[in-house]
Subunit: 598 residues, 2 copies
């Protein structure tokens, strides 16, 4: 196996051959989702840094990698032998990539970037920041450099039954056309695989955790096109799609197909979800480009509003998931009682997946599971490894954050369990996190409210103790799609997207005490219409998650009456809904664990 | 007195004479503050519409006035005989001014606007929206049209003692220069009279409620200039200003002075706080223009952070004001007991001003007082009139929202009094408004938090009852300056300005039940540093207002323990701080009114 230095050398040979001064190697693929195939892991392959976020820049002499604070320690270790300088983002004194490049290559430099994996908006803003240095979109340089590169996977595409999707392809296409700007001869390009999966009621398995397949879609007023690899859509599925006016085309011909639209057409796409190379091909035939200004794109905005069938699917998924959680917690506690010393984070992470797999409708995990004992939970993105087993003992907290894909919905739940004696500070923190989660769950808010207006309901109780979690409170969640889905969010940062009935979002306040413990309590909530009256229209949330909260750490006096009432009522719903699906001893256990407090 | 039609005729003669197709007549003056002198009330003079917000547009044949929902009824009445069409803003089907003008004057039209009273940013965005119609900045057309026009007032300017201002002019000038962009030969133009009053530790009396004087300021790296009308600054004050390097120049020469800066200078100003005519003059000598991008402008951003002397001044002002409020409430209740039928809203509005005037440091009201009985309080901007006296009876609620200027600070307080039997709904609404006010008062939040993140703390309780107030929760407040001051705010709407220690803001949740009652409870809060620890820096609020809350309508069970505790503690502070300043019977009354609840 070659070293990072040898791989950098190969990249530098490419620079010389191509007469460019440097190359920027970002993370990601041509569909701009959260996960991508190993084929696209060029940055990792060259640098050796395995974190999910990072950008590598290589000049003829130097190399540097920019990443954020989550990965500082990991990156330092992984880059140690590589000669790649670690650039700590948001740390004072760290230059930006353009600043560093200006010092490295001078004003007349030319920088290459793979135009396939950088969006038009990123490319434009990077170009602007680099000026007068020229940024040049190039074809994937790793085609020649990377020996034994993993192959791209193109797995079979499956159809999602209309009884699970709740809306026909034809109806979705009609709604997209209605949402498009009033121009003639529009050509709408969709690069986001989850938007495409939603639009055509299809699912795939090309990447981990997200049930997606590599594809593009093109929607015109007359017709729509699904561009996939040959053979992934079988004949009967192809027929079904054709009945909705969908023509199957070859994925590898996407650019060529788009270049066939001449000046009588207008191409439209979200600028942050179309690669600069596809954009260049799309306008090469003479078509003009219109930016899809809808937050998350037209399709993403429609997809975010779950229809009633999808909502019921979520409810069903939550039931199945809760059954697995009950069995999981009982298993964990039983093993802990044995004090065998065999209970590890990794074992528990595997156990919950096995328990979920008992449902025939389970389709895999929705993200890499987090099972974090003690101080490990203070790292928000910790994940257990099979190589270094961490034994769980009867002390402190255990944080478990896992989610699943079912054919009718996606789950994402965090519970923090009290395994032994706790300090007053731990109990207070646990209670404040719970208080924040309940505050947000109970919110009633006017139409037009953005997530940023509600974030502090969840965050405030933790801040009142002079503590803080640095992540958002809520992310959108897809319907048997990506567990992280836009465009809405519930965070401190401004996001102009209004919360609307049908949106599904997580609710996950937390506290992390470095080196000591971490607490997070996460439910999934559905935005609904609460009331319309002379003051306007009001929305509220329905909590979808049905997993009992471990109340052993709760300091009841820190909760208000209405908060205690909410929790007791929640547990009543959990018991009533889940107990019929359990064995007798499990139902008894659940009865005890959902008993009222206060 | 001429009719509106006759005045419109005079305007149309001007259009003909000037070869323009229409004129846009906005509200406001050349300093872009909340209040302006009667001299600038051209829109009112022509149309007869007296509301504070509205834009009149006159073409050769038609006239229309755009205003918002607060003024629909009033505008309909006042415009009835004028022939001016009322354009209801934000109502479906209402054209925008550019849309209407495009239909009226066609593509080749030319539209005039008084360049003195429209900001550069407004002018630019209006020009863009009108294109291809040409928008032309003209000199005030009403100089010739308006017979017997009120004269501009230029009253004596007074100096604010350094013991009240807390920072020298020299120091403030230094801080402005430090905040300016790193260019040579910068010329910073300030048009906002409150920024100028703050910068030079001066106050005036040219307009109602705001202790300001008509002026411009120009700050260069070498020197600064205060442009005021001749004679308003006396010799000793002039000497004092000169000792800080401030040169006095003539207000009417501002444009001419600015045009003297040639291409070796860069002019800088906030684009929304410099008139297009002054901008045109400023660049006429060849200087280039840089937009002051600081929210509220460089000076406004500095002014918003009150120094410790100003903070203490606020505390002193709140004490004086609380004494007047105690006397006022006792008077009101005494008169009510007499049941003489003589107690009117108007009389109470005058009474509180008289009581405040007992302090030698009182300098007038900080805004038009609101004393609103019963259904009148459902109009958020109601103000009592002497012409139509409204008698106050022992029933329902009385809402009093008034504020004062003291030489050491500005106040703004709203209390809602229970005058008789209340319904359960009224009591619940009162309690929820109070709960919201307390929630915000108790907030502890991380550095970097914007007001929009905290708004829902105050708004949420009212929303939980399916009700809503449509205004913001908090506005900035000046130090013996404008009661409405930027740039921070606490509202639903995004405002990127972060809350910072030293900022003074109102906290005024409310509920309005149309035709029935209105409730608002308003304190003034000061942002302070609460704690700095490993999680970061946290801020909280100190409540400055010291006026007892009428607790008779409180439903204690709707408040949490910590909220009750906050209120009881607040009342303890009110009693301890204010009672030494009261007569014995007043102190006894206050003791009863600040008794603990719950």
């Amino acid at each position: 196996m070659k070293t990072s230095s040898e791989r950098q050398k190969a990249v530098r040979d490419y620079l010389t051959k191509s007469s460019v001064d440097a190359i920027i190697i970002p993370s990601g693929d041509n569909h701009f989702g959260e996960y991508y195939q190993e084929y696209f892991a060029c940055r990792k392959w060259v640098s050796g840094f395995t974190g999910s976020a990072g950008t590598l820049v290589i000049t003829s002499k130097n190399a540097a990698l920019w990443t954020d604070s989550r990965y500082f320690v990991q990156a330092e270790n992984e880059l140690a032998e590589s000669g790649v300088v670690l650039m700590k983002m948001k740390v004072e004194g760290t230059p930006s990539i353009p600043e560093w490049l200006k010092a490295e290559v001078g004003r007349t430099g030319v920088i290459a970037i793979d135009g396939q994996i950088v969006s038009k908006s990123e490319f434009d803003s990077l170009s602007k920041a680099l000026c007068p240095i020229v940024l040049k979109s190039v074809n994937d340089p790793f085609q020649d450099i990377w020996e034994n590169r993993p192959l791209l996977q193109f797995n079979k595409v499956i159809s999602l039954d209309i009884r699970l999707a709740g809306e026909t392809i034809t109806s979705k296409l009609e709604r997209i056309k209605l949402a498009m700007p009033p121009h003639e001869n529009l050509v709408y390009i969709i690069s986001s695989c989850d938007d495409i999966a939603w639009l055509f009621n299809l699912r795939g398995s090309d990447i981990p955790f997200n049930p997606l397949f590599a594809s593009y879609a093109v929607v015109t007023n007359e017709k729509s096109y699904l561009l996939v690899n040959e053979g992934v859509v079988d004949n009967s599925l192809q027929k079904e799609l054709m009945s909705h006016g969908v023509e199957i085309m070859n994925y590898s011909n996407t650019g060529q197909f788009l270049s066939s639209f001449d000046h009588s057409f207008s191409i439209i796409a979200p600028a942050d979800k179309i690669s600069i190379s596809l954009y260049n091909q799309a306008i090469s035939g003479g078509a003009r480009f219109i930016t899809d200004e809808a937050r998350g794109g037209i399709t993403g905005a429609l997809k975010a509003i779950k229809n009633s069938v999808e909502q019921n699917g979520f409810r069903e998924a939550m039931k199945r998931d809760a059954v697995a959680w009950v069995k999981f917690i009982m298993f964990m506690e039983g093993e802990l009682e044995k004090e065998s010393g065999n209970l590890t984070e990794h074992l528990l992470a595997e156990k919950i997946a096995l328990l979920r797999a008992e449902s025939p409708d389970y389709r895999g995990e929705s993200f890499h599971p987090i099972v974090a004992f003690g101080a490990n939970a203070a790292l928000p993105h910790y994940s257990p490894s099979g190589d270094k087993p961490v034994t769980i003992r009867k002390e402190g907290f255990l944080l478990v954050d896992t989610g699943a894909q079912y054919i009718y919905g996606t789950t994402d739940t965090t519970r923090t369990f009290s395994l032994g004696e706790l300090t007053e500070e731990q109990k207070r923190d646990f209670t404040l996190v719970l208080k924040g989660m309940i505050n947000l769950s109970r919110a009633i808010f006017p139409k037009g409210t953005r997530g940023s207006s509600l974030d502090f309901l969840a965050r405030g109780p933790v801040c009142s103790a002079g503590k803080l979690y640095s992540h958002g409170t809520g992310h959108g969640i897809g319907h048997y799609l990506c567990v992280h889905e836009g465009p809405q969010s519930i965070r401190m940062e401004e996001n102009p997207v209004e919360l609307k009935p049908g949106m599904v979002t997580s609710n996950e306040p937390a506290v992390y005490v470095p080196g000591s413990y971490g607490i997070r309590t996460e439910n999934v909530i559905l935005c609904k219409e609460y009331e319309a009256n002379l003051y306007g229209t009001f929305y509220n949330f329905e909590t979808l998650t049905l997993v009992p909260v471990d109340t052993r750490a709760v300091i009841v006096s820190l909760l208000g009456n209405e908060e205690v009432e909410w929790l007791n009522n929640y547990h009543k719903v959990v018991f009533t809904t889940i107990s019929p699906l359990l064995k007798k001893n499990e139902a008894e256990w659940l009865k005890a664990r959902t008993a009222s407090i206060g």
